[in-house]
Subunit: 338 residues, 2 copies
DNA sequence: TTGTAGGCGTTATCAG
DNA sequence: CTGATAACGCCTACAA
């Protein structure tokens, strides 16, 4: 009887099945190399003992884990949920397991998580956005672990990416509202430090203003963490200026939902008194009232393509090829022409 | 010059610093045991080489990973986000890293993830709810990895838990609306198979009906996946019966948000034409219009306490002690008296 | 305070 | 088709 005080090992199985450990290993990893008879006997013992191969030992010997790590800025709101879910599903189909950590939008924490996942043998990493210490990419190169960036497209960036052009998207959205007559713009952005998505979206707004002869310096810009409560507070600030905006562009749907709450709290009607836009087009965008005009991002497609590409990079040992996904404006009721 | 084609190992560091590997190991794990001079020298080499200890090797030798695994049913909606974030933060403070996977509400997938996390050396596991094959608990026992269940309190369950009484909570919420005069009840529940939270909430509604002399069989019950779209569709179904409900009790806030959308779509006013309640009190609950009357669950506290307890179980090698957290009804505008 | 050496559980190479 | 056996990278008695 095997020692019941500790998990069974490959040795226990081998002994019980009267074969060598090599054979046990084979029935697990390469069943065809083993005769049917032996295979069945070993299988039975594995079942009986409830044996699971030890990952660490396996990793040490084989250098592969079939694990992929993803580090997202936050799980608190739904921004990354849908894309990540698709990523996970696509990975699962290909035999990989996804491990997720969140960095709370902190560069230091992200770096820690990266090292952690790498040390744990992740075969590849998915990161959000390009803004990070270049030393991290050096480290990843040295460790030979492929990285793919999502949520942001930048051909010139160091890492390959499956994303979209945050700047152009925000520019397009802004131009559409300027075309509707809006001139006094305010923006509630996420914190732009170490966050290229936020930074580029701000730049996109300014691009549009310049293109339409507006002074980009006249943009009333506030940066806050991505939360409904912060969006609400920021909205109150913005509406408290001497010259109030006719429209408040928000860095994402979460902030926009906060802005709409804020408006209601101040007794303002959206869009009659003030218009609001979001970004991302998560479910929240069509649950709030009025529903949000926003920029649709193909989250599921992005997650799926990222999975394919990252697995390709790993298995074919090749560089990743970037993709620029199309986003599209979704007109709903939170904006009106002036 | 160390071989640059592969990650540096403890041997590389030892050689470069002219000490033994044992000393390197000590400056990493037990710095005080090493003289300041040696320590600094070794540290410098570690930095220079960008050395990170290999987790697998470490785990094999030490049997500890300072990693905790959590498996949640879904990341797609915010139900678990807040509690998990708190869990993660509390863990981080105590020096542990959290790895999370999601099971898509599938028992099979959950089991796979559990084995995966265990094989990877998770020092402990956080699981949601009690409903699962007992064999899993046997497995976990054998592997000696402590488990804590959250989101559901059940003193008689096999695993210790930090949760709340789903049944009593739902009963209380239902009684409160019955007290307001509601008699024709419908319920949009999550899928109850393998989901004790869903099952117990349904039971709670029936408890309340019985206690108030209503026929529990008269409850118009629909089970759907937890999504806004499903909530919306279910709502339409429920309002299409011969005898329409005066109130629709939803299994959580996500379904309730869907119900409210559904009502609007049908041209019905909430709460004038029909009342709606949620469960959980996530941000969504006060963003929708009208804001949801719902059951507040102390998610952050639950996550934090779960972290404390699980770490305690691991470090003190003791059994977990369960806690029943209090929930409370939050009255908002989605319910009116009849 | 530091070094030596055995062992952790697999996989993979090389013989039989 | 199967069996020895040498890695894999680190930790930790035990010695010095």
């Amino acid at each position: 009887m095997p020692d019941s005080s500790t998990a069974p090992t490959i040795d226990d199985v081998a002994r019980e099945a009267r074969v060598s450990t090599a054979t046990v290993s084979r029935v697990i990893n390469d069943p065809d190399m083993v005769s049917a008879k032996t295979r069945e006997r070993v299988q039975a013992v594995i079942e009986a003992l409830g044996y699971t191969p030890n990952f660490a030992a396996r990793f040490m010997a084989a250098k592969r884990t079939f694990t992929i790590g993803a580090i997202i800025p936050t799980m608190e709101n739904a921004i990354f949920a849908r894309g990540l879910q698709a990523f996970q599903e696509a990975l699962h189909e290909r035999g990989y397991t996804l491990l997720v950590s969140s960095s709370a939008y902190k560069a230091k924490v992200e770096e820690e998580q990266i090292r952690n996942l790498v040390a744990r043998g992740a075969d590849g990493l998915l990161l959000i956005g390009h803004d990070r210490d270049p030393a991290i990419y050096d480290y990843l190169d040295r460790q030979r672990v492929p990285v793919l960036v999502a949520w942001s497209y930048d051909e010139t960036a160091r890492a390959p990416c499956i994303g979209f052009d945050n700047r152009a998207a925000m520019r397009a959205l802004t131009e559409s509202v300027v075309d509707m007559g809006h001139r006094r713009l305010a923006m509630i952005s996420g914190v732009s430090e170490q966050n290229d998505r936020a930074r580029l979206r701000i730049a996109g707004v300014r691009d549009a203003m310049i293109a339409h002869g507006l002074d980009p310096a006249s943009l009333d810009l506030i940066e806050v963490p991505y939360s409904i409560a912060d969006g609400q507070a920021a909205f109150a600030q913005v509406m408290n200026r001497d010259t109030k905006p006719s429209i408040v562009l928000c860095g994402n749907d979460v902030l926009a939902a906060g802005a709409i709450s804020g408006a209601e709290q101040l007794g303002l009607k959206v869009p009659d008194d003030v218009s609001v836009t979001g970004f991302d087009d998560i479910e929240l965008a069509h649950v709030v009232r009025p529903p949000l005009t926003t920029m649709h991002v193909p989250h599921r497609a992005m997650g799926q393509m990222a999975a394919e590409e990252l697995v390709g990079m790993i298995e074919e040992k090749r560089k990743g090829v970037s993709q620029n996904l199309k986003t599209s404006i979704v007109q709903r009721a939170s904006v009106r022409a002036v």
